[in-house]
């Protein structure tokens, strides 16, 4: 059995997380991409939890992953519903056009 070095896996999850963050920050076009990126970040976090759970031989990490999965599911559901409600009002979901945050 070949053991994969934990650092590879951790850097893999870190890269995924960074990609998710950049997806949120750099993206200027589509708000769906932002939601997808957030999902990606949560995924990276989940992976991280699992890796540490196995590495440390501790069940709490996997428990947390289950919680995070449910939170992510409900979060994306609420996010998408906010998005559809917003689209109904504004007829657009382009990030550039959302300026109502300005005070």
């Amino acid at each position: 059995m070949t053991l994969i070095n934990i650092y590879y896996i951790l850097s893999f999850t870190f890269i995924i997380f960074i990609i998710g963050i950049l997806g949120v920050v750099v993206n200027r076009k589509n708000i769906l991409i932002i939601i997808i990126s957030i999902e990606l970040m949560l995924l990276a976090v989940n992976l991280n939890f699992i890796v540490f759970s196995i590495y440390l031989d501790d069940i709490i990490g996997q428990l947390f992953v289950l919680f995070v999965l449910t939170v992510a599911a409900s979060e994306s559901a609420i996010g998408l519903s906010i998005l559809s409600a917003y689209y109904k009002v504004k007829q657009t979901i382009a990030v550039d056009k959302i300026k109502s945050l300005k005070s």
Partner: protein, 667 residues
């Protein structure tokens, strides 16, 4: 009795000032004149007790300031120097009060005027009777204040206000010097009362005092600063410009303040501080030279003034120069003697000038008078007595003091002595010239005034007459009577009040100077009088032609050597410009406001605006800032490792100021 003498004028002043509206003009006059009369009689008694019976009187009233080393008492000291001043001041003041009763009779503010006059007398008495320098300073400032109040007595006249402000401020320059002198005295002697200071002066002869990191001879420094004070008060060259302008006040004021009493305070200070001056020969020669220059320059200016009172004012200035240089030649007693004589005949001259002005409908220009001899015979004789006494006509009062001054100046056998002798003799010539010029232009030539005015000219009534007669008697006799007492050889009149180093005691030397130099001043003044008399009566055309040919000289002298112009254009203007452009516009409204309220509030508003602008409303900007700040927050510890050693609060100050200026610059 001694306290009554000092406080009676204050009492009458307060009564006339505070209750003048109940007393009325007449009542105030009655009160103040009678109080002054009592004061004068007491002063005679005091003179008898102190000077003749030779017992000085010291009165300690109560402690004024008592703080550690610094101990000032309200105390009065009556010695020969004081009592002679007291007599002069109260006598002149009494006659001026008496004179004002008639001269100011129609003035609506008569009781205020009398109140001021009495207040002035009070402060002058405080000045001369003080037993310490602080109390002397009270009197010193008090007479300055009263001179301000009296010069702009007619406060509706702009010229009077300006003259009063000028008098006050120019005096204040001198007072500043006096104050510094007193400070230095206190710092070194740890005392301000005369008795202590003068008894320990010999221990300080070799002391140095460090001022502005230069070592000065202590006693010279003190005498110098005291002399600055005397310069201001006694209108010596440099600070003399206020005296002629002060003629804007009513004539009795000019007689009281600017002829007989206030200006003599400087000479009094010199005589009082004779201990200091005797130990600082360099300052003495400075005093001599400045006094001689004042005598000379004022006499030349007096030659060509057209204002009746201004001529007399410049002659005052000139005579003060005589007194000062005689003090500078260590003959303080001669200086005080001249002061006393001068007070009498100068008050006489001023009061008769007032009488003339009164007679010709308040016209002060001599060119518009003339031919008043037969109209005002009494005033004419008074002016004649005053002028002859002033020019040192033999056997009148001025002769005894003025000639002695010039003799001791020659008898000093030093270069300053010769210098002052020469300038003094020339000034004697000029003095005679302008005195006779005044008489000619006013009384002897053909009438130049308006017919209406000349027809209504009349001699004044009893009060003025009484005052003038009472002044004319000492103007004639006092010099002869008191010469032996005051400056006579071996007279112990001055007992301890004036100190003269024995090797400067040259009253004997002056007796044995060459005969020609003894009679030269008299000859010169008689010659001046004669020339002026002949010129102004018989050769008027010649004078006019001379005036037209030497216009520059005429303007130069008539405009007072351009002293006023010089001061206004190079000093006063400069200070005005400085105070407006630099200290007001640049500092008060500039730097302080930029660093203070306005600058900071503007800065904060601007910064807040930048922060506000940072909220664009774009989602990705927010998320970027979120990312950035999270990163920084997580990385603070690492950053601290990098930059922590560079952190220094001074750097922040520099950074802050740089940013501050940069932001303001950009705008």
């Amino acid at each position: 009795m001694y306290l009554l003498f000092i406080f009676l004028p204050l009492l009458s002043s307060l009564t006339a000032g505070l209750f003048g509206r109940f007393l009325g003009g007449k009542g105030s006059c009655f009160l103040t004149v009678n109080c002054l009369l009592v004061t004068f009689l007491i002063s005679l008694l005091i003179f008898f007790e102190v000077a003749f019976m030779n017992c000085c009187v010291y009165i300690k009233l109560f402690t004024w300031v008592d703080s550690g080393f610094f101990n000032v008492d309200w105390g009065f000291q009556f010695d020969s120097l004081t009592v002679i001043m007291c007599c002069v001041v109260s006598f002149i003041s009494l006659l001026v009060h008496l004179y004002s009763v008639e001269y100011m009779a129609n003035d609506p503010h008569l009781s205020r005027f009398m109140s001021y006059l009495s207040l002035f007398t009070f402060f002058m008495l405080i000045l001369v009777t003080a037993d310490n320098y602080i109390q002397l300073f009270v009197g010193w400032e008090g007479v300055g204040l009263c001179s301000y109040l009296l010069i702009n007595f007619w406060f509706t006249r702009i010229q009077a206000n300006k003259a009063a402000i000028k008098a006050m401020i120019v005096n204040r320059i001198g007072d500043f010097g006096l104050a510094i002198g007193i400070f230095i005295i206190f710092v070194n002697f740890k005392a301000v009362d005369y008795a202590t200071i003068f008894s320990i002066i010999p221990y300080f002869v070799c002391y140095k005092f460090n001022i502005l990191s230069i070592d000065f001879h202590l006693l010279s420094l003190i005498s110098f600063f005291l002399f600055i004070g005397a310069m201001g008060k006694s209108a010596q060259l440099g600070l003399h410009t206020w005296l002629p302008d002060a003629m804007e006040g009513p004539t009795p004021v000019s007689a009281l303040i600017h002829a007989a009493t206030m200006v003599t305070a400087g000479v009094f200070l010199l005589a009082r501080s004779s201990m200091f001056y005797e130990y600082s020969p360099s300052i003495l020669s400075f005093v001599t030279i400045l006094g001689a220059l004042t005598a000379f320059i004022s006499a030349t200016i007096g030659l060509l003034q057209n204002d009746l009172k201004r001529v007399i004012a410049y002659s005052t200035c000139s005579q003060l120069g005589y007194m000062i240089f005689s003090c500078g030649l260590s003959n303080y007693n001669v200086g005080i003697f001249h002061l006393m004589n001068h007070a009498f005949f100068k008050a006489l001259l001023f009061l008769s000038a007032g009488s003339i002005i009164h007679a010709v409908a308040d016209e002060q220009d001599m060119r518009k008078m003339g031919g008043l001899k037969n109209l005002l015979p009494f005033t004419y004789s008074m002016v004649l007595i005053g002028s002859l006494a002033l020019m040192g006509f033999p056997f009148l009062t001025g002769f005894y003091s003025k000639d002695i001054i010039l003799e001791v100046a020659y008898g000093q056998y030093s270069s300053e002595g010769f210098f002052s002798y020469i300038l003094g003799s020339i000034s004697a010539f000029f003095t005679a010239f302008y005195s006779i010029r005044l008489i000619c232009l006013t009384f002897l030539t053909k009438p130049n005034g308006f017919k209406k005015v000349v027809c209504q000219a009349y001699d004044s009534s009893y009060y003025i007459m009484t005052a003038l007669i009472l002044l004319s008697i000492p103007s004639i006799f006092i010099g002869y009577v008191s010469k032996d007492m005051i400056i006579g050889f071996g007279s112990d009149f001055w007992s301890n009040s004036i100190y003269i180093t024995p090797n400067k005691h040259n009253i004997i030397d002056s007796e044995f100077i060459p005969h020609i130099y003894k009679i030269l001043p008299v000859v010169l003044s008689l010659l001046g009088a004669l020339i002026s008399f002949i010129m102004y009566l018989f050769f008027k055309d010649f004078l006019i032609i001379t005036k037209l040919n030497y216009r520059i000289l005429y303007n130069f002298l008539n405009r007072k050597w351009f002293f006023d112009k010089l001061y206004n254009e190079f000093i006063v203007q400069y200070f005005f410009k400085f105070s407006y452009n630099i200290s007001y516009k640049l500092i008060d409204r500039g730097i302080i406001e930029v660093f203070g309220p306005f600058g900071l509030s503007k800065l904060i508003t601007k910064k807040a605006y930048y922060l506000y602008r940072a909220q664009t409303g774009y989602l990705y900007h927010y998320s970027f800032i979120l990312l950035l700040s999270t990163t920084i927050l997580l990385g603070v510890k690492q950053l601290w490792f990098f930059f922590g050693y560079l952190l220094d609060f001074r750097l922040f100050i520099i950074l802050f100021i740089t940013i501050f200026f940069y932001l303001n610059y950009k705008k």
